[in-house]
């Protein structure tokens, strides 16, 4: 068979026209709802109620963004979400790295049991703890305060497991032993050996955590009510409740709430893609 050589996938096959056509189709499908959010946000309510729907930008974008910023509380919400997602990211990355390092490289009693506990709770749904969390928040008087969203989400079992898997390979045990022989304290060991080795995985975990914290919905809408200190998602839920009837303003709110992450995707898309793919192989 003459075609055998060509078919052999020794090297990666080049994509044909159909491949590109299908990929472009999926790209359009992925991006269209986002582009259309911006188009709808640049129109007004009357135009959105006409047929056919608008396919190009109108002149109302900044007016709608302004209304969403003030009336729908999106300004406060953006700042709040930045604080919440930022704190959760720092906490998760820091504590996951420390615990992940201990599980990967140090020996201590109960290590196996504790690790099993971490893995076992990785898949427990958040619904299972939401009632007691709500009671705790009410008891502590944290309702409508940002710590009610930050503290319960500050650590992540997935993060610990992820860092452990990474450090098992990325951090040579001899390096730790050498540092110990030099009499390095644990603090110095972590600062000068563990953190530098863990940095790539910390970046990946940080990005994934930030996206997740930014988009978290279920617990924030229970802990934070619309009037107090909303996060972006809580404010958007308020828009969904019909707080502002103007559809173009609702779209402007959705656009504002998504824009920061979209900008991050344009800047760090490659790293985020790499992180998700890397996490998939490790996990």
């Amino acid at each position: 068979m003459a075609s055998l050589k060509k078919r052999g996938a020794g090297r990666q096959l080049r994509g044909g026209k159909v491949t590109y056509a299908v990929l472009i189709l999926f790209t359009v499908g992925s991006l269209f709802p986002l582009v259309w959010t911006a188009i709808a946000a640049s129109r007004n309510n009357t135009r959105l109620a006409q047929t056919p729907p608008p396919f190009w930008f109108g002149g109302n974008l900044f007016k709608n963004l302004e209304i969403a910023w003030t009336d729908a509380n999106m300004g406060t919400a953006l700042i709040n979400t930045l604080v919440v997602a930022g704190s959760i990211t720092v906490g998760t990355v820091l504590f996951s790295t420390l615990a992940g390092f201990a599980f990967a490289k140090l020996r201590f009693r109960f290590r196996g049991v504790l690790l099993l506990l971490v893995i076992g709770t990785m898949m427990v749904p958040p619904q299972l703890s939401v009632v007691p969390l709500f009671m705790m928040v009410a008891e502590f008087g944290w309702t409508d305060q940002l710590q009610s969203v930050v503290l319960p989400t500050l650590v992540s079992a997935f993060g610990v497991f992820f860092m452990r898997q990474y450090l098992i390979e990325a951090l040579p045990t001899e390096l730790i032993e050498a540092a110990r022989v030099d009499g390095a304290s644990s603090f110095r060991l972590i600062w000068h050996v563990v953190f530098p080795a863990a940095r790539p995985a910390m970046a990946v975990l940080g990005m994934l955590t930030f996206v997740m914290a930014w988009n978290d919905f279920f617990w924030p809408i229970i802990a934070l009510t619309q009037g107090g200190e909303p996060t972006v998602q809580v404010a958007l839920a308020g828009l969904g409740r019909g707080q502002i009837p103007d559809q173009s303003v609702i779209m402007a709110g959705a656009l504002l709430g998504t824009l920061p992450l979209l900008i991050a995707f344009v800047l760090f898309g490659k790293q985020i893609v790499g992180g998700i793919m890397q996490g998939a192989v490790k996990g």
């Binding site: 709802p33 047929t51 619904q127 009632v131 009499g183 304290s185 644990s186 988009n215 919905f217 019909g242």
Partner: protein, 342 residues
């Protein structure tokens, strides 16, 4: 343990696990006692450091985990055996298993269970199949492959709330909704997406599919890249066509990954909440006028935070958990069965 040369004793332990510290025996008979004490103190501190630092390192995680993870988890079980009102959550009245028995008698529970299942199937199956195909295409040598990867992942950056608000508008009832307008172009009458049983479930699933297909495709792609090339080479030598290679090399090698994505998607589908909440008019927790797309997550929210029965909400939470455990066991059994078959 070998004897350590005296000049390194002060700071250097051997490689023993418990951090064997320098010997207390004086290095030289003439050692100054103050320095000796200092050295002993340092070595004690060092030994303590090595012994206790692992616990200190895992402590922050476990403190938060115990307070906000494990304790609430167990307390939900306790609360599910009580009557707890939203307004006075500290007044708990023991009711035994009554919350559970009422749940089983409630038609809305079974309705929510059914909806969660059907929406789960409609959203997960096409999503994973498309992701698999998409990963296969992305695995070719492509121009601008990174652009495609980032582009299909952008829906993942869009929050449930933002995505749902947009889809509500696109699925709007009259023919000015984007989807109905498109259907009108090919001669299909406008569909009342929100108020039909299947149409609403389909629309909710569309949001899930839109958000997660690209993400899963990247996970499959990562696994495909890890498949050894010579597997394909030998398959090609045996005369396998591209499709046969995909079926007999790619898919079997991806089996663990496929199973993993199935588990994650199933867990996600069981918890489905934001999409159906915001898809319904005025973000009501009923999941449509006729509860036609109320999921278990919504049902829990409705019972707890609208009907104000936190005890019943806890019972729903535990039921959801039991369902997940059942699915997990089923999954495990299936994967064992497939492995034995293969």
């Amino acid at each position: 343990m070998t004897d350590i040369p005296s000049d390194t004793r002060a700071a250097a332990p051997s490689t023993g696990e418990e951090g064997a510290a320098p010997r207390a025996r004086p290095a030289t008979p003439l050692a100054d006692p103050a320095a000796e004490r200092r050295r002993a103190r340092r070595s004690r501190r060092y030994r303590r450091d090595v012994k206790w630092s692992p616990y200190a390192l895992v402590a922050p995680f476990f403190l938060f985990f115990l307070a906000f993870g494990l304790f609430p988890l167990l307390y939900t079980g306790w609360a599910s055996l009580h009557r707890v009102e939203l307004g006075t959550p500290t007044d708990m009245e023991w009711v035994g298993l009554r919350n559970f028995s009422r749940l089983l008698e409630d038609d809305f529970f079974w309705n929510a269970l059914r909806n969660t299942f059907t929406i789960g199937v409609i959203s997960t199956v096409p999503q994973l199949l498309m992701a698999l195909g998409l990963a296969h295409l992305l695995h070719y040598r492509l121009r601008g492959s990174m652009f495609f990867r980032v582009a299909i992942l952008t829906p993942y950056a869009t929050s449930v709330a933002a995505a749902t608000l947009v889809f509500v508008l696109m699925f709007s009832r009259t023919d000015h909704g984007m989807i109905n307008w498109g259907l009108g172009l090919v001669g299909v009458d406008a569909v009342d997406w929100q108020n039909g049983d299947w149409t609403a479930q389909f629309a909710v699933s569309a949001i899930v599919i839109w958000r997660w297909t690209g993400y899963n495709a990247l996970i499959y792609l990562a696994a495909m890249q890890a498949i050894p090339k010579d597997l394909y080479e030998s398959a090609a030598l045996d005369g396998a066509s591209r499709w046969q290679q995909f079926r007999h090399v790619t898919v079997p090698s991806l089996r663990p990954t496929i199973l993993f994505t199935c588990v994650v998607s199933t867990i996600g589908a069981t918890q489905l909440f934001g999409e159906p909440l915001l898809f319904s008019q005025g973000a009501s927790p009923t999941g449509g006028s006729d509860h036609q797309f109320q999921t278990l997550g919504l049902y829990l929210y409705e019972q707890g935070w609208f009907n104000q029965h936190l005890g019943r909400a806890s019972a729903i939470a535990w039921t959801m958990f039991l369902i997940l455990v059942l699915i997990g066991l089923l999954n495990w059994a299936i994967s064992r069965w497939i492995r034995r078959d293969a």
